[in-house]
Subunit: 324 residues, 2 copies
C-alpha cells in the first residue's frame, strides 16, 4: 500500500529529503548540497538523488511512496510546479514538478517554502486542528503562509502570504522590494543588521555584537542575536524593542483584517530566542489590535524547527495527491 511520502526541503545551500509515514514519523533522511551555481538540470538530478537516498535509508519499498512534496524558493506556480523566479538559485521558469516526475516516476507537488512551512505546522506542529492559521517566519527576510479552512490559500496571483511586505510604516526604511516601510524592512534579520551597522559604524555605539561577529556586521546570525540578548547588550535590546514593536504592528494589522484563530511564529530569529521574545510580541500585538479581536486568536511558537520544511512538504504531498 502507498502509505508513505517523501518531503523535500530545497534551500539555497542544501537539499534535505525525508521519507515520512502517515503519522509524520521520519523514516529516513538524506542531505545533499544544492550547488546552485550549476545548471538547474544538474541541481534537479541532485534532488532526485536525495530522494532515492532517503528512500534507501528508510528501508521502505519505493512502491510504498504515494507522492513527493517539495518546498522550493518562490514565486512559483503550485498548480504547474513551475518555479517562476528564484533569485538565490538563479532560476527562471524551471519546470521542477515535470522534471522530477520524469526522473523519479512518482507524482510530485511543489509549493513555496514558507507556504510549506506553514502547512507543516498546521498538519504536524503547532497548528494541528486549527482551521485558519497565519504562519510568519522571521529570518533573513520575513515570509509567511495562510491556511484557510484547513488548506493553503494561494490567492489570485499565487502570491498570498507575503507578510513581509505588509506596509507597517509608510515612508519608513527602504525595502528590498523597492517600496518603503514593509514589515521586512523593519523587523527581519537583514533590517536588524542594518540597524547594528548604523549604530556601531556611524554612531560609534558599543555592542557585544561587534566581537561576536568579528566586526563583520553585514549578516548577523540568529545565534549571535540570542547571545547578545542573554548578555543584556544594550544596543541589541534597543534594536529588539523596535523589532518587537513592528512585529506587533504587523500582527495587529493581520488580526484586525483577517482575524485568524492562530498566528504561528517561526524562523531562525524566533527559534533562537526564548519565550520572553514571544511574550513581548504578544504584548505589542495587543496594543495594535482592536479591543476583543485578539480574544479568539492564539499567537504561538512554531514547533517543527529544522524539520518544518520536510514535514510540510510531506503534508503537501499527501494533501495534493489525495485531492487529485
Amino acid at each position: 500500500m502507498r502509505t508513505n511520502v517523501v518531503g523535500v526541503d530545497m534551500g539555497g545551500t542544501k537539499i534535505l529529503s525525508a521519507v515520512i509515514d502517515a503519522k509524520g514519523n521520519i523514516l529516513g533522511t538524506a542531505k545533499v548540497p544544492t550547488k546552485a551555481d550549476e545548471a538547474p538540470s544538474v541541481v534537479i538530478d541532485r534532488i532526485a538523488d536525495a530522494i532515492q537516498k532517503a528512500i534507501g535509508k528508510s528501508g521502505v519499498n519505493e512502491a510504498s511512496i504515494e507522492a513527493i512534496g517539495i518546498g522550493a524558493p518562490g514565486p512559483l506556480d503550485p498548480a504547474t510546479g513551475v518555479v517562476i523566479f528564484a533569485p538565490n538559485l538563479g532560476w527562471r521558469d524551471i519546470r521542477l514538478k515535470d522534471e522530477l516526475e520524469t526522473r523519479v516516476g512518482i507524482p510530485t507537488f511543489v509549493d513555496n517554502d514558507v507556504n510549506v512551512g506553514t502547512l507543516g505546522e498546521h498538519v504536524f506542529g503547532a497548528g494541528q486542528g486549527v482551521q485558519n492559521v497565519v504562519g510568519i517566519f522571521v529570518g533573513t527576510g520575513i515570509g509567511g503562509g495562510i491556511i484557510l479552512q484547513g488548506e493553503l490559500f494561494h490567492g489570485a496571483s499565487k502570491t498570498a502570504g507575503e507578510i513581509g511586505h505588509i506596509i507597517v510604516k509608510a515612508g519608513g526604511p527602504k525595502c528590498g522590494c523597492g517600496t518603503r516601510g514593509c514589515l521586512e524592512a523593519l523587523a527581519s534579520r537583514t533590517a536588524m543588521a542594518k540597524q547594528f551597522q548604523k549604530a556601531i559604524k556611524k554612531k560609534k555605539q558599543k555592542s557585544i555584537v561587534t566581537e561576536l561577529t568579528n566586526g563583520d556586521l553585514r549578516t548577523i546570525r540568529s545565534g549571535v542575536l540570542a547571545k547578545a540578548i542573554r548578555a543584556n547588550d544594550k544596543l541589541t535590546l534597543k534594536i529588539f524593542k523596535k523589532v518587537t514593536k513592528y512585529l506587533g504592528v504587523g500582527i495587529g494589522s493581520i488580526v484586525n483584517f483577517l482575524n485568524p484563530e492562530m498566528i504561528i511564529l517561526g524562523g531562525g530569529v524566533v527559534e533562537a530566542l526564548d519565550d520572553t521574545f514571544l511574550d513581548n510580541i504578544r504584548a505589542a500585538a495587543k496594543k495594535y489590535a482592536l479591543p476583543n479581536t485578539l480574544d479568539g486568536v492564539q499567537i504561538v511558537r512554531a514547533e517543527l524547527g529544522d524539520n518544518s520544511g520536510i514535514l510540510g512538504a510531506a503534508a503537501l504531498a499527501r494533501q495534493r495527491s489525495e485531492a487529485r
Copy 2:
C-alpha cells in the same frame, strides 16, 4: 413558494427595508426613522413595522417570504444575531434576531453592515462570480468585509474585515480605536475633516470648502468634497493626494497579504467622486504591491450604491436560510 426575502439596512438615523426576489429585483420598499434615543425594544418594533410595510407595498403574500436579513452596526455575533455593542444606537447585547423573529415570525439573520454591503456586491453587484473579494467602504470611518470561497469570512472573534484598522503608518495620527496610524485615521472622511480643520483654522489656508460648509468643518459631506475637487480647490486636491496614497498603501498590504481576486471600493466618498479617484487609488496600490501580485487582482467600484445594504441583507437572508 417561499421565493422572496426581506433585506433590512439598519442605520443610525433610518431603517430601510425591501422585499427582494431571487434575481435581486426590489419589489417593494419602506423607510422609517431609527429614533435611536428610544428604547431598543421600541426601535425593534419599528424595524418590524418597516418589514411589514415593505411586504405590503410589494404586493407579495407574506407566506412567500423565506427569510429576513439585517445589516446592523456591529460588533455583533452573526451566529446568535446578538448586537454586542453599537455606539451610534446606544445598544449593548441586544438579541436582535430573537426579538425580530418573535415579532414577525420569519427566520431572521443578522450580520454587520459592512459585511452585508460586501456580500451584496458579491451576489448582485461588482463581485458577481468572484470567489475571493475584499470590500472597502470609505465614509465617516473605513469599514470592510471579506468574502472567501464565495462566503463571508468572520474570523476567530467574528471581527474579520476591520480594514480601517490595518496600521499603515505606525506612529501616525491618532485613531478613534486608541492606537495610531490606522488606515481610518489617514483616509476616512473624519480624517480628512481633521486635515481641513488644521489647514484652514490653524494654518489659515484658503479653501472653497470653508464656504461650502458655511465654516463648519467638523463633518464634511462627501458631496462637498466632490464639489471642491471639481472646482480644483488646491487644499482639497492636496488632502486627496494623501488620502489616495494611504488607500494605496492599505490596498497594497491587502494584496501582498491575501491576494484576493477583487477589491471593491464603495462608501460615500468613493460614490461621490469620479473615476479619476479610482485610477489614482489603483496607481497608488501598484506602487505598494509587490511586482506581479496585482496581476490577477481587479480594483473596482461598488455598483449598488444606496441599495447595497438592502440587497446585501437579502443575499444574507438567502445564503443563511439555505445553509440551515
